[in-house]
């Protein structure tokens, strides 16, 4: 491992115990990968908050829990600083509407304590899975870390930035020591396309693109870099955030070229692996139908819970929901949650969208989602999502029926209280 003078001093503990521990982890990780050096990280997007998996450590000492679960340290070391620009990812609690989530005061206060520790360390409490919509925009060639799988795809693919899908512990450690292994997506040679997905379907809506991502992921082997081609003309950021969220659910890509759209893929030759394509796959209407059949329960019936906004909605999407709901009422006994990021909620408040959604009986929620919080109304027998990612991951966690559809279908279900006829 080739380390710089500064990195050696960090490992010696001359820059403090937290940086030493963080860099030790990153060096161990680099050794596992077979990386020979580290690169400097400028931005970190971190899974802050009192998440459920932390309960594995049976301790009420928050610093002990954080040391073990975020820094892999049996020795308790206070998390007191970060070494780069850092924002928080989703937490398990909406700090504004935690009661409507079904959180207890104890859960809310515990989460606030964890977030406060992050804030004091220098992490901005944005609390969203869409950091690229809230000021976290790494440029081409810039090295960053993130704990959100679709955010890696978005920022690597759309802007040519560099990160791997390397997870919670590595992200926290990289945030502190501002280093990550120079490996994978941080190396230009690893960013070439291996599998071509030719879209013969004509994806237009967000739902269509969500299904494209899901269908591509189902056919994408590990360690691959997909290239999308064919009918990709109307790809945009909102459609792609859903497409990439689904693709990073059924597979593990860290970069997806889109021919003629993304910066590293002006032509097929420019983004193609030197060894050529390993496979070419057609994604047509049949593949999208199959994806929807997997995701959506075929039995019509009563719906208790509707959740929109995975990934968190853009201001446009929140505005569209408000416009649709104007003058309508959510069915009695059905709960409608619309999830977004706190800065976007501030704009929605200013524009009157929040009030319109609330007047209809829904709630504009921030900072979390059903998957991260593992919260939905008690007694729910059927729930509906406009997100393949959310529907796919919630299914194993519940006996309730799970429906997937467009935001329009979900809103129809919210006001009728039923899915299907």
């Amino acid at each position: 491992m080739n380390l710089t003078e500064e990195e050696r001093r960090m490992l010696d503990g001359q820059l403090g115990p937290l940086k030493r521990k963080a860099l030790e982890f990153v060096v161990s990780y680099a050794n596992v990968l077979g990386a020979e050096s580290l690169c400097r990280v400028s931005k970190a997007h971190l899974f802050c908050g009192a998440h459920h998996y932390l309960e594995a450590v049976r301790s009420t000492d928050m610093d002990e829990v954080i040391s073990e679960m975020w820094f892999c340290s049996g020795e308790t070391i206070p998390f007191d600083s970060v070494g780069c620009f850092a924002q928080s990812d989703c937490s398990p609690v909406d700090h504004l509407n935690w009661l409507k989530m079904g959180c207890t005061e104890e859960e809310f206060l515990k989460n606030e304590r964890y977030l406060d520790r992050c804030l004091r360390a220098g992490v901005h409490l944005v609390g969203s899975c869409v950091p690229y919509m809230t000021g976290f925009i790494p440029l081409r060639g810039e090295h960053y870390v993130t704990t959100e799988s679709h955010a890696v795809l978005m920022m690597n693919s759309l802007w040519g930035a560099c990160a791997n899908a390397d997870g919670i512990e590595a992200a926290f450690c990289s945030a502190v020591c501002a280093r990550t292994p120079r490996w994978g997506m941080h190396v230009p040679e690893s960013r070439k396309g291996t599998h071509l997905f030719y879209l013969t379907c004509e994806p237009e809506t967000v739902e269509d693109w969500d299904l494209v991502g899901y269908a591509v992921g189902l056919r994408l082997p590990p360690h691959s870099v997909p290239i999308l081609a064919g009918n990709v003309e109307n790809a945009d950021m909102v459609r792609l955030k859903s497409c990439f969220a689904a693709m990073a659910t059924t597979a593990g890509p860290e970069l997806c070229h889109i021919l003629g759209v993304t910066p590293e893929a002006p032509t097929l030759a420019s983004c193609l692996s030197p060894s050529g394509l390993e496979d070419e796959v057609e994604i047509g209407p049949k593949q999208l139908r199959q994806a929807r059949e997997i995701l959506c329960d075929s039995r019509p019936g009563r719906v208790d819970y509707i959740s929109l906004g995975c990934p968190h909605y853009s201001i446009d999407q929140v505005g569209e929901v408000a416009s649709w709901l104007k003058g309508k009422k959510v069915f009695p006994g059905t709960t409608l949650h619309v999830w977004t990021a706190l800065p976007i909620r501030a704009v929605a408040d200013r524009c009157g969208y929040t009030r319109t959604i609330e007047e209809a009986g829904g709630t504009l929620m921030v900072g979390s989602c059903p998957l991260v919080s593992e919260k939905w109304p008690s007694g729910t027998t059927a729930m509906a999502f406009d997100s393949a990612k959310q529907a796919h991951y919630i299914k194993p966690l519940t006996d309730a029926k799970v429906y997937f559809g467009s935001s329009g279908e979900c809103l129809e279900a919210a006001v009728s209280g039923r899915w299907g006829r």
Binding site: Y53, A248, T249
Partner: protein, 147 residues
């Protein structure tokens, strides 16, 4: 290289140490969220060939990671609860599995020279040597002490 009763596959030692256990062979990746129940170690991914099997005490041979970037955290939380594979084998390393290898801290061999999915079957006894970067697969009856 094949012997009468054992097969050796060479790779790269990623986490040092030596451990032996029954193979749990996953040609298909396991997803992050809703992939492994941290409290029981059971695979809960719907439709996965290993659904219902536990990672506890096995030599987990897995093609790679997919889904959540928090992939490693599920192995981490399970390990804290005393549930962990006794060794890990990743035929080709990736970022998700790389972090999992560090947090589990069990002997790990990666980047294999041969396809283990053509050689190793569920339940075969496998010795993972993270120091030398080798797997030894016992295809017949597992040798007992003094044998």
């Amino acid at each position: 290289m094949r012997g009468m009763e054992t097969v050796v596959i060479r790779g790269r030692g990623a986490v040092p140490g030596i451990a032996t256990g029954p193979a749990m062979v996953c040609r298909e990746t396991i997803q992050g969220w809703s992939g492994i129940d941290e409290k029981t170690g059971k695979v809960i991914e719907k439709g996965h060939p290993a659904e219902g099997q536990t990672i506890r005490g096995v030599v987990l041979i897995l093609s790679g990671g997919k889904g959540s970037n928090g992939w490693s955290s599920h192995f981490h939380a399970a390990r804290i609860r005393g549930i962990s594979p006794c060794a890990l084998v990743f035929p080709r390393i990736d970022s998700r599995t790389g972090v999992a290898a560090v947090v589990c801290g069990v002997p790990t061999v990666v980047d294999l020279e041969e396809d283990p999915f053509k050689i190793i079957e569920n339940g075969d006894q496998v010795t993972v040597d993270g120091n030398s970067g080798t797997l030894t697969i016992y295809k017949g009856p597992f040798p007992t002490k003094g044998a």
